[in-house]
Symmetry: C2
């Protein structure tokens, strides 16, 4: 991998090979009239020999940042409907474009993602990456950092607090706000439908629910369940919770996709979200609005803008950017 | 615009300036040992002077196709949930990648799309485009063709039958198949909820409904309505149809997003999709599966593969590729 990356000629390589300063190489590309003809010819020959791309590299040099950003999209088959990463891709495209950068999409399964990074870098297709779906034992950040590849992340780099080039939403605070909204609306017991343990995002949101319901007289074990991030499976997982709940209780959900599954299960029993059982989602990526589900909003445009700004910085920030999200009240918490 | 494009040096430009054949330029880049040293130096100097990018251009030359493909995504705000273009973007990314090409996303409103094309081409960010959302009075295909920019389209180029580099689904045949499925299942009257007239895709699907119900004893005017491509607005538009329908009737929909709106309106009245009123969607981009809605499936992976293959061809095909889609039966047409 190292060998492949070394093939990518830099301005420094051209300067060394031509026995001139980097400024002279830059002038040869951008202000050739400032360079003596003989020197100019030598630099240009080295540029051609090394396959150094003048236009693009000069732009990166001037702007001190990557110009093409790699972004992994999920495979078409089996991707969840209402995925927050769909509007996030749009927001990130717009933020990058406003800054004269471009997003390049790619697909890769977990086993191949590092090989795909390597190929995209070796072929000079991208200069850096925006990561999403960060998790424990995630090899991506360490791999990129080791190779000094610029990257930022929507989501914390959970296993390495020294990596700070990320933007994330405070899942605990968001869920606490969601539960407090349910309690303010007068719902009595507050159940939780989350993802299976081990997902740092899911665990953090679940902690918010546990903390915000600790003083309630309720059986936390009976009132919590897990489901994958899929509306149909969430719907099936809701049944056990509904058996334990009564009208006037509520269900906090780890995501809008899960909340959608909850409302599907409720409608099968003739229960109305809000009037009978309160339902609170998390994300607000579009699906919550369609189904009139109250939720905790991730501000995707702000996150995308912050990530692109961060990618522009020549150095990493001293700490990541945590956004405390706000509740968007809708019919599913209206009694 | 012409001026800007002319700045992009081609292999032919290098050959002319170096007073050698194109093959010699190609050899200078890929097999330099086959070229006399003096000639090699002259060609390399011209490559550098003209800013010709050897790696990429050589690959395009060898492969006879564009290497980076522009793809317009919708803005984050107001984009419909369940948009078929979300899974299509994934499928297209995978198809392009399998072929060593890359997708570059961009956003643009209708007024700016040609300027955005121009900028992406002038800055050599993309070599061609995949169009979607084609419609009447759509200026994009003519603009691209005039400039000899490679492009293909998911959707016919409605106003210019001489442009044949597209793949599309036969909307009329698909809707006919959907209505026949409803009739086979024993639904009596078949209503239609479509988009407002003037959309070629919507008009074609509506024609399928009109043709396949022409022999039915039903009031077509009473049993058809229109809605924008939005589940909530579709839900509102469904009410008038439901007033006119009886249990045992059905509603054919121009899209799954519209069908979702229909099922939302039905559940408000306590009507069950399938058992009470049949519902048929169109697209199968994910949302129909979640809501167990029978639909007409657009095979996105096949379409993406065909488009990438088409973009590889040095010449346009003699005619566009029309795919006749199949019905996917689910609960919403089960009595």
């Amino acid at each position: 991998m190292r060998g492949q990356r070394r093939e990518r000629a830099t301005l420094v390589d051209v300067a060394k090979a031509s026995r001139v300063s980097r400024q002279t190489v830059s002038n040869a590309m951008n202000n050739p009239d400032r360079v003596a003809p003989e020197t100019l010819e030598r630099v240009r020959a080295e540029i051609a020999r090394l396959g150094f791309r003048p236009n693009r590299a000069a732009r990166s040099l001037r702007r001190q940042r990557a110009n093409a950003i790699g972004f992994q999209v999920e495979q078409a088959a089996g991707r969840p409907v209402g995925n927050i990463l769909d509007p996030f891709l749009s927001a990130l495209t717009a933020s990058a474009q406003a800054d004269d950068a471009h997003l390049i999409t790619f697909v890769a399964d977990d086993e191949r993602v590092l090989r795909t990074y390597d190929r995209l870098l070796a072929t000079q297709v991208v200069d850096g990456f925006v990561l999403t779906h960060t998790r424990h034992a995630d090899p991506r950040a360490a791999w990129l950092r080791e190779r000094e590849v610029p990257f930022v992340s929507f989501g914390r780099i959970w296993d390495d607090p020294t990596v700070t080039s990320w933007v994330d939403v405070d899942g605990r605070a968001g869920t606490v706000a969601g539960v407090e909204h349910l309690r303010d609306r007068g719902y009595r017991r507050i159940a939780w439908l989350g993802w299976p343990g081990g997902s740092p995002v899911g665990d953090e949101r679940r902690k918010g629910w546990a903390d915000a319901t600790a003083d309630l007289d309720q059986d936390a074990g009976l009132l919590s369940g897990t489901t994958p991030q899929d509306a149909l499976q969430a719907s099936a997982a809701t049944d056990r919770l509904l058996d334990a709940l009564e009208p006037g209780d509520a269900i906090g959900c780890v995501s809008d996709i899960v909340a959608l599954g909850v409302t599907l299960a409720m409608s099968r029993r003739g229960l109305r979200p809000g009037a009978d059982i309160g339902v609170m989602g998390f994300d607000d990526g579009g699906i919550a609005e369609v189904f009139d589900i109250s939720t905790v909003r991730q501000p995707l445009e702000d996150i995308a803008d912050a990530l692109v700004r961060m990618l522009e910085q020549p150095t990493e920030p001293s700490e990541g950017l945590i956004i405390v999200p706000a509740v968007v009240p809708r019919a599913s918490t209206s009694r």
